[in-house]
């Protein structure tokens, strides 16, 4: 897979992405499709599995040194769970890990979630291509320690 700029920056590496299911929501069809599509697009993808707390997701994100966290929430708890993950990343000094996601999220909530720091929200009907294109354009490898 090629990405803009890849050829000339030797220290650039593959994007590492964490796909997470946070909360008690068991609807994992979307998360699994996105994880697989991102992997097939050439990114390194880690999938958390189900029923993660925000603390668990943030710990995994830091431990795995990912560039972004993608959360799938269909339970209606997005207004609590997205901001909580962002808050915990900040507390751990990992605010450069981007957070985006998708699920059953009404338009008016999308605006407030973006204000809270969520980079993008995809709703039902979004194609995997549109997610991949967005990731290529908006997520960049974090500087290595």
């Amino acid at each position: 897979m090629t990405r803009a700029g890849e050829g000339h920056v030797s220290e650039e590496r593959k994007l590492r992405l964490l796909v997470g299911k946070v909360g008690l929501d068991g609807h994992d069809r979307g998360a699994k499709i996105i994880a697989r599509a991102l992997r097939d697009a050439g990114f390194e993808v880690i999938y958390t599995g189900l029923h993660q707390t925000p603390e668990m997701v943030v710990a995994t994100a830091i431990q795995e040194d990912v560039d972004a966290v993608s959360l799938s929430i269909l339970s209606g708890a997005h207004n609590y769970l997205f901001p909580r993950v962002i808050e915990l990343l900040r507390e751990k000094g990992a605010q450069d890990i981007a957070v985006f996601g998708g699920g059953i999220v009404p338009d008016e909530d999308i605006e407030s979630l973006k204000q809270a720091g969520v980079k993008e929200i995809f709703t039902p009907g979004a194609t995997t291509e549109s997610v991949i294109a967005w990731v290529r354009a908006n997520i960049h490898p974090r500087p290595l320690d």
Partner: protein, 541 residues
């Protein structure tokens, strides 16, 4: 580029003619497609008689329309109780209860994992106190109640029994349905507590208890709905659901029950997706397979054991957030398929459900859709009007054959529990859902308003809001109940429940004792963990 030499009538559009599940469909069906051995008496029979392909009642909708059973539950027990009273006052005779995610997972509202989820997708129930409010003023001897709950189903059911006791209603008079289908949780919906085998023990305890004490209760609603929502094909939905049904019957027999004592209380729950004929054929095949399985494999004598009664819900996963009013048309087609497929009850989704829980006006359109089908369209005038169509019969036979092939593979693995333990249905569904998504992304499968006929600048749709006050109020009530209950007595009852789990005693009476003393869903669920363990999924991507 000219096709002047080709007669117009023999050209076809350059697309694959397949169902939404990718079954190939021919240009035309004739008698030949049924094969030389096709026999009407063997394959179809008469409605109300074996093998029930054309329907389970001799009069079908001329005798009684399907039950319009809209699933509802949100916020506090008070909110949902008020909605129940409203529905009953407007002529509804049955209730269908949606619980919130913490309750479905056996977690109390004050558990750390419940934060942000209390009362959000259904009603929050922690103790008998909540159930007393939820069913307050509702005569349980006259109203049937469906409860969509699985992992902690036995606990919630005991709370329902305790409410009946307080209303002085004899348990033998209670009517209703508990979803209680744990196998599809491991396969698709993913709300579990214990591993499959101990979970099955709770289910057989419940079947045994109900056959003695609550004989009119439907103990399991074996559900394909969630399997389809997780991305399966129509054939997979049918095959995995029937394989689950076979596993429950085998578990009942192994527990020493006789098949005709519990099988009449098993019912089914299917999805109705976009592909009209595929859905109708699936439902007709389902009845025929189950009739043969029960009679030929399990030796059931009672016709009620052989007849598959089922509820249908239109496909939530087919709804789009884009151009949401288009969903009204989708739901109409799906609901019509369920009716022509011979469903006993139906829930129609609301057009705004890809955005949020439905508003009242959206729910009303969904209910009206059923009423228009029932009372304006004329489709209820005759039974199984598509029966005998070369296409529908050939497709019914094809889906039956494909489902039986899956069931045979699952039998070879040692049955559905063994298949789940090796991740077989989970992997099949994940592959099917990814395959379908790729087809949609490439434009091979059309979704109107999503990958075709799109436009920008849509008007915003009004959605239902659930406030944070529900969670705060629920936490306050739980704290208050915990403060005033007899703690010492509850601890003894919980210890007795845990003790019983390591014997072969029926657990239901022990659970009843705990809930009467206001033990919480989580306390009862956790009491069994030292003996039963907890389930962790190995994720299959």
């Amino acid at each position: 580029m000219s096709d002047a030499g080709t007669p117009r009538k023999s050209t076809e559009r350059p697309i694959a003619f397949t169902t939404v599940s990718d079954l190939p469909i021919e240009r035309l069906y004739t008698e030949e497609d049924l094969g030389p051995d096709w026999s009407e008496s063997e394959k179809l029979g008469t409605p109300g008689e074996f093998p029930y392909t054309r329907g389970i009642h001799p009069t079908m909708y001329r005798g009684r329309l399907w039950t319009m059973r809209q699933f509802a539950g949100f916020g506090s027990a008070e909110d949902t109780n008020a909605r129940f009273h409203y529905l009953l006052e407007h002529g509804q005779t049955g209730l269908s209860t949606a619980f919130d995610l913490p309750t479905l997972m056996g977690r109390d509202s004050d558990d750390a994992l419940s934060r942000g989820e209390v009362g959000r997708e259904g009603v929050a129930v922690d103790t008998l106190a909540d159930m007393e409010i939820l069913f307050g003023g509702i005569p349980l001897d006259r109203v049937s109640t469906s409860m969509t709950i699985n992992a902690p189903a036995a606990v919630i059911f005991c709370m329902y029994l305790a409410v009946a006791e307080k209303q002085n209603v004899p348990l033998a008079q209670l009517e209703g349905t508990l979803q209680n289908d744990i196998l599809k949780e491991y396969i698709a919906q993913k709300e579990w507590i214990y591993p499959p085998r101990p979970s099955m023990r709770i289910i057989t305890d419940l079947m045994a208890f109900c056959s003695r004490e609550v004989p009119k209760w439907n103990t399991i609603s074996i559900s394909g709905y969630h399997i389809r929502e997780a991305g399966s094909t129509a054939v997979q939905e049918l095959a995995f659901t029937l394989a689950d049904g076979i596993a429950y019957v085998e578990a009942g027999l192994k527990a020493g029950l006789s098949v005709d004592d519990f099988a009449p209380r098993l019912s089914y729950f299917f999805n109705s997706h976009n592909d009209f004929f595929e859905e109708i054929a699936k439902m007709r095949a389902a009845r025929r397979i189950w009739a043969h399985v029960m009679r030929d494999r399990f030796g059931a004598k009672n016709p009620r054991s052989q007849t598959m009664r089922f509820h249908t819900q239109t496909a939530g996963c087919s709804l789009t957030a884009q151009q949401p009013l288009n969903n009204v048309a989708r739901v109409t087609v799906q609901a019509l398929a369920a009716v022509l497929g011979g469903t006993q009850s139906l829930h129609t989704d609301s057009f705004d459900e890809a955005l949020a829980l439905p508003t009242e006006s959206a729910v009303t359109v969904a209910l009206r859709t059923q009423q228009i089908l029932a009372e304006e369209s004329g489709v209820t005038n005759t039974i199984d009007p598509l029966g005998g169509s070369y296409f529908v019969e050939a497709l019914t036979d094809k889906i039956e054959r494909d489902a039986l092939a899956y069931i045979e593979r699952i039998d070879e693995m040692g049955g559905m529990i063994a298949a789940i333990e090796r991740g077989f249905p989970q992997k099949e569904i994940a592959d099917a859902s990814y395959h379908y998504q790729r087809q949609v992304d490439r434009g091979d499968k059309t979704i109107v308003g999503v990958n075709k006929y799109t436009f920008d600048g849509e008007r915003r749709t009004e959605t239902l809001k659930i406030g944070d006050d529900v969670e705060r109020a629920q936490l306050a009530r739980l704290a208050e109940v915990k403060a005033r209950r007899d703690e010492a007595k509850l601890r003894r009852d919980l210890a007795a429940l845990a003790q019983a789990a390591s014997t072969d005693q029926n657990l239901i009476p022990f659970m009843l004792a705990c809930v009467r003393n206001y033990g919480t869903v989580q306390e009862l669920s956790q009491a069994l963990v030292p003996v039963f363990g907890t389930y962790r999924e190995v994720s299959v991507l």
